[in-house]
């Protein structure tokens, strides 16, 4: 049963400010104007060895007006929730558009902003799926649970330190535009993490929980969607095994990659590469472009034929899930890679129109009331095999390889070719069986080579939905929560580095 929109949010003068701003933008000649009032509550809790190091509860409230005026974008934002301020911010947005138009004129450009059409959604309301709002749980209880888990870990042999953290977000958005769409939305997300550290004679190793961030409520910490008890119980022995593990031998290995690691490879090498703004060059100076350029739509061989990747803004509990995006577009799901071929992009309304799409697929998002919506990532997910093949089945098909679990370090180039990832743990695979952990490993590959080497997928029982709270993009910099689901998968012949050797030791 969905929760009602928080009455403290609906008590803001949402429509009054929107009406004033949109009316003023119209008077000044804007062809399109939209108004967004947001409240984002963001709680960060961090414990060190069971004691609270940081507890910060931050709430950001403000509003923004975006206009298309004489074919140019203009944007302004403010925090005073008054009609006068709303009118002034609308005027500032138009003034910014005029600066843009003047610069365009000086450069001889006649490019004009146009938006793909979208049906009007009047008075639409959407609330994400959760049981218990984490902000309704007393802070003492939140701290108490993490402190207890920390103490339990610290009591185990070989654990010298424990870091625990919890991020909780409640995001409320009200949107209105000159076409008549108005949406009011609310979503909740959580990211708990615990890391155990062993320090031994000048060396140290760590082991972190694999529980992913989720679009769920406090119930996630009490047994719904993750077995915390089981995971925390095995952390000390996993850490001890890691401390005693041999250093990996650098070379070429077959890899079986667990969803807790593969989600991040998907994020970097598929999620960002299929963003239309990057493919068109709009992130070129900062986040970068994409090898998956628009001229390759429908023809680029992205990976092996078993590769099927979807973009989805509607999946239950997804971190990028929402009912309507920040341009009033009803969210959807669609294919990005089908049978190993690039077949789709993530779009906003302007770029959809520019490239001849009938409609945006709802990927405009701003991370705060003071930021302009940019094209951001949907939940981008690798679909599992139809038959229910287990991770053990995949491991059984490998003679010499590594099984990699959990994410750690990540990096990819600005066109999304060359990447390097590490993980929480890696196990040697010998003749189809696990043969203990190794350490100091990283895998390095080029996107299409890597996905082209994907030989087998796990089935639905191996599928897991993870993601991140902190995907960075755009200037000024914005962060977005993004979800990624995937099964376990097996890759042939991937380069594995020894990171101690990479450090020249």
């Amino acid at each position: 049963m969905p929760h009602p929109i928080d009455p403290a949010f609906t008590a803001y003068p949402l429509r009054r400010l929107a009406d004033a701003a949109l009316e003023r933008a119209r008077e000044l000649g804007a062809a399109h104007a939209d108004f967004r009032l947001e409240r984002i509550r963001d709680a960060h809790l961090r414990l060190r060895d069971g004691r609270t190091e940081m507890s910060l509860d931050a709430t950001d409230v403000g509003f923004a007006v975006r206009v298309v005026h004489e074919g140019a974008w203009g944007f302004a934002a403010g925090v005073d929730l008054t009609v006068d301020a709303a009118v002034r911010v609308a005027e500032e947005a138009v003034a910014v558009a005029r600066v843009s138009r003047a610069v365009a004129a000086a450069s001889g450009s006649d490019d004009r902003v146009e938006l793909a059409p979208e049906p009007v959604h009047e008075d639409a309301v959407w609330v994400s799926a959760y049981d218990v709002n984490p902000f309704e749980v007393p802070e003492a209880d939140r701290i108490g649970l993490l402190a207890q888990w920390s103490r339990d870990l610290l009591a185990a042999d070989g654990v010298d330190h424990v870091d625990a953290s919890l991020m909780a977000v409640q995001e409320n958005k009200f949107y209105a535009d000159t076409a008549g769409t108005t949406t009011t939305q609310q979503r909740v997300r959580l990211h708990p993490q615990l890391t155990a550290v062993a320090v031994n004679g000048g060396a140290f190793e760590s082991m972190r929980t694999l529980a992913p961030p989720v679009g769920r409520g406090w119930e996630y910490l009490t047994g719904t969607g993750w077995d915390w008890k089981a995971e925390l119980a095995e952390i000390p022995s996993l850490l001890a095994e890691r401390v005693a593990a041999p250093s990996v031998e650098a070379g070429t290995y077959d890899l079986v990659i667990d969803p807790g690691n593969l989600w991040l490879t998907i994020h970097e090498s598929i999620g960002h590469a299929t963003e239309l703004d990057r493919a068109l060059g709009y992130e070129a100076a900062y986040a970068g472009t994409s090898f998956a350029t628009f001229d390759k739509l429908g023809s680029l061989k992205y990976g092996s034929e078993i590769m099927h990747v979807t973009g989805d803004r509607t999946a239950e509990h997804g971190l990028a899930t929402i009912g309507y995006d920040d341009e009033g577009v009803a969210t959807q799901s669609w294919d990005l890679v089908k049978d190993g071929v690039l077949v789709g992009y993530q779009t906003d309304r302007n770029m959809a129109r520019m490239q001849g799409f009938e409609r945006s697929n709802g990927c405009a998002f701003a991370d705060s009331p003071s930021h302009v919506p940019v094209q951001r990532m949907a939940n981008v997910s690798l679909r599992p095999a139809a038959e229910d093949r287990s991770t053990a089945d995949l491991i059984g098909g490998v003679e010499r390889g590594l099984y990699i679990v959990g994410d750690k370090s990540w990096s990819i180039d600005m066109q999304r070719y060359n990447f390097q990832f590490t993980g929480q743990r890696a196990y040697r695979i010998e003749n189809g069986r696990l043969a203990g952990q190794v350490k100091d490993f990283a895998y390095q590959a080029t996107t299409t080579d890597f996905w082209g080497s994907m030989e087998a997928l796990g089935g639905p029982s191996t599928y897991r939905f993870g993601g991140a709270f902190n995907c960075g993009k755009a200037q000024p910099g914005q962060v977005a929560a993004v979800g990624h689901g995937c099964p376990s998968a097996m890759f042939r012949g991937v380069r594995v580095l020894n990171t101690v050797q990479e450090a020249g030791r």
Binding site: S55, T59, I143, G288
Partner: protein
Amino acid sequence: MTEAKTVTRPGEIVERALGLSRADGCVVIVRESTTANLRWAGNALTTNGLTRGRQVTVIATVDGTEGTAAGVVSRSGVTVDGLEDLVRAAERAARDAGPAEDANPLVGGTRFGAGFDDAPAHTSIEVFRAFAPALGEAFARARSGGRKLYGFAQHEMTSTYVGNSAGLRARHDQPTGTFELNAKSADMSRSAWAGVATRDFTDVDVAAAEAELEQRVGWAARQVDLPAGRYETLLPPSAVADLMIYLAWSAGARDAHEGRTVFGKPGGGTRVGEKLSTLPLTLLGDPAYPGLACAPFSTAVASGDASSVFDNGLPLEATSWIADGVLSALPANRFAANLTGLPVAPEVDNLVLKNTGADRSLADMVASTKRGLLLTCLWYIREVDPQTLLLTGLTRDGVYLVEDGEVVGAVNNYRFNESPVDLLGRVTEAGRTERTMPREWGDYFSRAAMPPLRVPDFNMSSVSQAS
């Protein structure tokens, strides 16, 4: 909820919130900021904006039998009517939090209080009055020259007001400006980048930056493919800044003391006092450094390895993290300093690397290079192994081959794996320090001055096809 205007003078917000406090101690931080930005792609402006924001943070401290607790609540757009609710929320959070390890007496006395009762400083789109037309002209030149320009210019003014129940009153106005220009050939196969950090945009020369990039895109007319390997490499100040910033961020005293970072000494304690470089390199933070001036007092809305909410208002002074090649200090709040036996050394919002007596420019260093690589900048830097502080990342927007003192062409991009700590021990030359814009971390940390470095064996781990 009815409409309510926010209070216009942040100093008044601080006083009102302190007056509402019922806790044993209270700190109030108000940050008022305005930003103006222009963004462009393919020789045309895209998303541009003007924003203003205000964040009010209340830190309540509550004494108990087991120690003092702190609760931190932060809100934007706070009205006068909302202040009491904010203060009470912080007090509830303090009661819920339990004793804070980093508890210390609040920093007392009225210091840095000039202008505390005055209105905050602002910026506006007017900061681009001369810059914007120059940008339009650069677009026109690039278009006629078959190049595309991409980039971003932002000016931010943040006024910070801090007051506490022990009598502290502090105010600081911080202007921060950045300009990044990226030029590409029409087919996007050649790319060059320049970045500038500025306080007010009066010193930004768009035409000069565009001309430099035209030259660099021209250098790339000859492409040379080179494999992965260890190369003599000239790192420009921007790349050095990105590596040194990460080093500084990883240098917290407490983590080092616990043996959890590269700065921990095997067997216990820290590596303070250990020689890291044979060159007389000094890495320092100095709030009064010319051109890089920053807040002269600590401000923290959260406690961490090097910061503490109890240390708000602590004076900042010039601090050498490395002096003449020797690790000389690690960032430490008062609690960490007490724990580790190291001096209190709060973080400073600028970073300077100097090679005492060096006066050679990057161009001079190119001229004396027999064969090596000249980078433009580094990108997507992430930590691979905290034990060695091994970082990975990529070159971007121009790697050039230098032969017999001349740039002879552009080389493919690379992924590197390198530790900045290890690298300091292998550097054979460091040139003249100059103000620079860190490409990777400039969003968070733009006040840096660095020299170019010569590294005899920089580890290019693999080739990146990206252009």
